[in-house]
């Protein structure tokens, strides 16, 4: 074993996380290497000091000081449902509601007649010009359409006297 690995193994050793083989290798190395033996002592001393550090007593009346502050905070039971369920649950729920509303809207709305573009009409083998001419020739019951054709007649007379 090389000295370079010693500290890594020491760190595992103090937590009891060495395999029997690693433990054996570390022990053998430390016995034969004064530098690593010193490092091991230093390491163990440092962690013992850290682990044995005393804590001061916490200031008294902790709960008595905390309760009035809790009173001023909103009670968890009264928080909105989104918070109750947590944000992770709220987002999929919102998406689900949106999807249901969208599909309901598609299902219940009246179907609109197709407005064909010229290319779409050609693909369907429909002749828009013929349809328009038949309307102009035969007339239509719809007063709006009648007005459109009347104005077209007036315009063409003005343009081509």
């Amino acid at each position: 074993m090389r000295c370079r690995k010693t500290e890594k193994l020491l760190s595992k050793a103090v937590d009891g996380r060495l395999s029997p083989n690693e433990s054996q290798a570390l022990e053998t190395h430390i016995e034969s290497c004064p530098k690593c033996r010193l490092l091991a002592e230093e390491y163990q001393g440092m962690l013992n000091t850290l682990r044995s550090a005393p804590f001061p007593e916490a200031p008294p009346y902790f709960l008595q000081r905390l309760i009035p502050r809790l009173d001023r905070s909103p009670s968890p039971a009264w928080l909105p449902i989104g918070k109750q369920l947590g944000l992770r649950a709220a987002i999929p729920l919102a998406l689900l509601i949106f999807a249901v509303l969208a599909s309901a809207a598609l299902f219940f709305l009246p179907e609109q007649p197709d407005q064909l573009s010229q290319s779409a009409a050609l693909l369907r083998n429909e002749d828009l010009l013929e349809e328009t001419l038949s309307l102009a020739a035969g007339g239509s019951d719809n007063p709006n359409i009648q007005m459109i054709f009347t104005s077209l007649d007036l315009n063409s007379q003005r343009r081509f006297p």
Binding site: S11, M46, T49, A58, R69, L70, K83
Partner: protein, 192 residues
Amino acid sequence: MREQELVKLARQGDRDAYAALVEKYRIKMFNLAYSMTRNREEADDITQDVFIKAWRHISGFQGRSAFGTWIYRIAVNTIRDNLRRENRFPRIPLEDHHAEAGSGENLIRDREADAELESRRARLHRALRSLPEKYRTILTLRDIQGLQYNEISRILGLSPGTVDSRLFRARRRLRKAISQPPHLEGEDHALS
């Protein structure tokens, strides 16, 4: 009453159940905060803040982790925020004399040995304070609080392998910081 039942009641707004949970964890939270700040009053303020935050958010606690893990996570984040603020507006440290005042052992032990131990401890904590926050946190959780690797992994949201390697680096940096001459201690103080 079992902890899970207390948590369930607390989620419904039962303050007595919550008070029982506070009573169970307040010393642990105080010790964690004290280990990171070395200031008794500051640690007490942080502990209060931790339990206020936990009360406000307990309805969002899903119970996927233990309540202890959850409260530790809140505490680590609160301490982290506090240290960042502290880094901008440093307090004058009132460290360690409280710990000494609380101990009656000094009267029994040999005074010289005590003085040496205290000096070593003070040096160690100065070195600990000089470490980046992520190393200080992991050392505190493992070597001062004595938490298990899997608990630390859940609290910090790290993989067990990362806990292992970060802990090794933290210990190595602490050892090097202690070996530094006193006038150089704390030079690499940084939050990361």
